[in-house]
C-alpha cells in the first residue's frame, strides 16, 4: 500500500518522456533533476520542521508548551522566523575577508545536501545508487569542517577564530571514530554500497551485531554535528557563538539550518548502517518502506534532541580526551573483535 508511489512517479515520468520522443539520455537527465529537486525540497522542509520540533521537544522537557501562536499549533513559527531573518540586514564588519565571509554561509548547506543524493529513502528510492555510497557520504560530510573554518577565519574576530579552531579540532578528531565504527559494518557486509548494506540486514539489524559500533557512531555523530553535549563550538559562556559570532540575519540562520541538515545526514546514515534502513521490523510491511525509513530517521533525531536537552556541555579538554583516548581505541578494538569473530565464524563454517 503506497509502497510504489515514488518509484511509480519516476517510472511514469520516464514512460511519458519516452512517449513524447525525448532521447533516452535527456529523459534520464530530466528524471535525475526531478529526483534531486524532490530530495532538496524534502530536506529543506524537514529542516524547517526540525527547528520547530527542537523547540517543542525542548519546551516539553522543560514543562513548557513551546511555540503555539503562529499558525495552527505554532507550525508556522519557523516560517515566520525565517521571513524575519530574511528581512534583516547582513552586517559585514569592515575588517572581514568579504568573499570568504559571505561564501561560508552559502556553502554550508552544500555538504549535507550532497550527501542526501545517495541516501535511499525507501526500497529502490536512492536518487543515485552509488557502489561506494558510504565512502561518498563520509567524504562529503567531512567537507563541512572547511566551511566552518572559512567562517571562523574570515570574520577576523578572536572569538570566531577560537571557535573555528575548535570546530576543526573537534570535527577532525571525531571523524576518526565515526569512520572506524562504520568499518565494522563494512567488514561484515563486504561492500560500500548503501543498498547492499541495507539488504544485508534482512536477518538482523547491525545494531545487534555491532552494538559498540552503534554507540561509538552515535556519540561521534553528535559531536560531528556540533550538538550538545559537544557544542563547544558555540559555547556562549566562553566564545559567544564561535565561528558564527559576526554573522547576522540570514547568514546566521543558514548555519543554524545547516546544523539540522547535518543532523539529518547523521540520522539517515545511522538508520542505514545500524537500523536496517527501509526494512520493516518484525515483517510489519503494512507500512511502505519509505515510511519505515522516515520513522527510524525521526526516532534518531528525537534521541539527538532528547540528549541535547538533558546533558550539559563538556569541557574542551574532556572532549579531546574522550575522542582520542576512549572512542578511537574502542572503535579499533571493535574492528579487531569483528575481524576475529568473522574469522572464527568462517573457520567453523557458518
Amino acid at each position: 500500500m503506497g509502497e510504489n508511489i515514488f518509484t511509480g512517479i519516476a517510472a511514469g515520468l520516464r514512460t511519458y518522456l519516452a512517449g513524447a520522443g525525448v532521447p533516452p539520455l535527456a529523459s534520464e537527465f530530466i528524471v535525475m533533476v526531478v529526483k534531486l529537486l524532490a530530495v532538496i525540497i524534502f530536506v529543506s522542509l524537514n529542516v524547517v520542521w526540525l527547528v520547530y520540533m527542537e523547540r517543542k521537544v525542548a519546551a516539553y522537557i522543560q514543562c513548557r508548551i513551546g511555540p503555539n501562536r503562529v499558525g495552527p499549533k505554532g507550525l508556522l513559527q519557523t516560517v515566520a522566523d525565517v521571513v524575519k531573518l530574511l528581512a534583516k540586514e547582513i552586517i559585514i564588519p569592515r575588517r572581514v575577508d568579504k568573499i570568504v565571509y559571505l561564501a561560508a554561509p552559502v556553502l554550508v548547506f552544500v555538504p549535507p545536501m550532497m550527501a542526501f543524493a545517495v541516501i535511499p529513502w525507501g526500497e529502490g528510492m536512492a536518487p543515485i545508487d552509488l557502489n561506494i555510497g558510504v565512502f561518498y557520504v563520509l567524504a562529503v560530510a567531512s567537507l563541512s569542517t572547511i566551511i566552518f573554518w572559512m567562517g571562523g577565519w574570515s570574520s577576523n574576530n578572536k572569538y570566531s577564530l577560537v571557535g573555528g579552531m575548535r570546530v576543526v579540532a573537534q570535527m577532525v578528531s571525531y571523524e576518526l571514530p565515526l569512520v572506524l565504527s562504520l568499518l565494522g559494518v563494512i567488514m561484515l557486509t563486504g561492500t560500500l554500497s548503501i543498498t547492499e548494506i541495507v539488504n544485508a540486514q534482512r536477518g538482523t539489524w547491525f545494531i545487534f551485531a555491532q552494538p559498540l559500533a552503534f554507540l561509538i557512531y552515535f556519540i561521534a555523530g553528535v559531536s560531528e554535528v556540533n550538538r550538545t553535549p559537544f557544542d563547544l563550538v558555540e559555547g556562549e559562556s566562553e566564545i559567544i557563538a564561535g565561528p558564527y559570532t559576526e554573522y547576522s540575519g540570514m547568514g546566521y540562520a543558514m548555519y543554524m539550518l545547516a546544523e539540522y541538515g547535518s543532523m539529518m545526514v547523521i540520522s539517515c546514515m545511522c538508520t542505514i548502517m545500524f537500523l536496517g534502513g527501509w526494512l520493516a521490523p518484525f515483517g510489519w510491511t503494512f507500512l511502505p518502506s519509505w515510511f519505515w525509513f522516515f520513522i527510524k530517521v525521526y526516532a534518531m533525531i528525537f534521541i539527538f534532541m532528547w540528549i541535547r536537552w538533558t546533558y550539559p556541555r563538556i569541557r574542551v579538554d574532556q572532549l579531546m580526551g574522550f575522542g582520542w583516548k576512549v572512542l578511537v581505541p574502542l572503535s579499533l578494538a571493535n574492528i579487531f573483535v569483528t575481524g576475529v569473530g568473522m574469522y572464527i565464524y568462517r573457520a567453523i563454517g557458518w
Partner: protein, 165 residues
C-alpha cells in the same frame, strides 16, 4: 557502572516530557488573582467624605484631591491619582476610614500616551446644595430611583474614560 548517571538524566527528561505543563496561556487562561490583589483603584464617591487622609498617607504624593464647601459639608469635586508615581503600597486604602477607596482586580492599566496614565476617579462640578441637606419630607417626595440614578452617573464619571484600559 559507568554511564549510569547519563541514563538517569535521560530517564528524568523522558519523564518530564509527559508531565503536566505549567504554562498558563495568558489571554485565554488566567491565574485567579488573590482577594487582596493591589490592582486599579476604585472610589465609591457616595462614601467618600473628602477628608484627605488618603492624600496624606501617600508617600509619593500621588493623590490630588480638590474639594469645595457645599453648605456645611466638604464636597469632593476632583480625585486624581498620578498613577505613574504610584507604588501600589496600599497605604491610602488602609487609611480610608469610610472604606471608600478600594483596590479592584483590574490589572491592564497600560496606556499609549503618558498623559492618559493619570487616573481620574472623580471629576464633577459641585452642586448648589447637597441633596442630603434637603428636608427629609422633600427627599421622600422625590421620585424613587432619581437619587440612585444621579449617584450612578457620578460613579460612571469617576470611572475610567472610554479610551483607558
Amino acid at each position: 557502572m559507568f554511564g549510569q548517571g547519563l541514563l538517569k538524566g535521560l530517564a528524568i527528561t523522558w519523564k518530564e516530557l509527559f508531565t503536566r505543563k505549567v504554562t498558563v496561556q495568558y489571554p485565554e487562561e488566567k491565574v485567579p488573582l488573590p482577594e487582596r490583589y493591589h490592582g486599579r483603584f476604585e472610589l465609591d464617591v457616595d462614601k467618600c467624605i473628602a477628608c484627605g487622609l488618603c492624600a496624606n498617607a501617600c508617600p509619593n504624593k500621588v493623590i490630588q484631591i480638590t474639594k469645595e464647601k457645599v453648605g456645611k459639608k466638604q464636597y469632593l469635586t476632583k480625585y486624581v491619582m498620578r498613577i505613574e508615581y504610584c507604588l501600589f503600597c496600599g497605604l491610602c486604602v488602609e487609611s480610608c476610614n469610610k472604606d471608600a477607596l478600594k483596590f479592584s482586580h483590574v490589572i491592564n492599566m497600560n496606556q499609549f500616551f503618558r498623559d492618559k496614565v493619570r487616573l481620574v476617579l472623580v471629576d464633577r462640578p459641585a452642586p448648589e446644595a447637597l441633596p442630603e441637606e434637603e428636608p427629609a419630607e422633600a427627599a421622600a417626595e422625590r421620585p424613587a430611583g432619581a437619587r440612585a440614578k444621579t449617584a450612578k452617573a457620578e460613579v460612571a464619571a469617576g470611572k475610567a474614560p472610554g479610551e483607558e484600559g
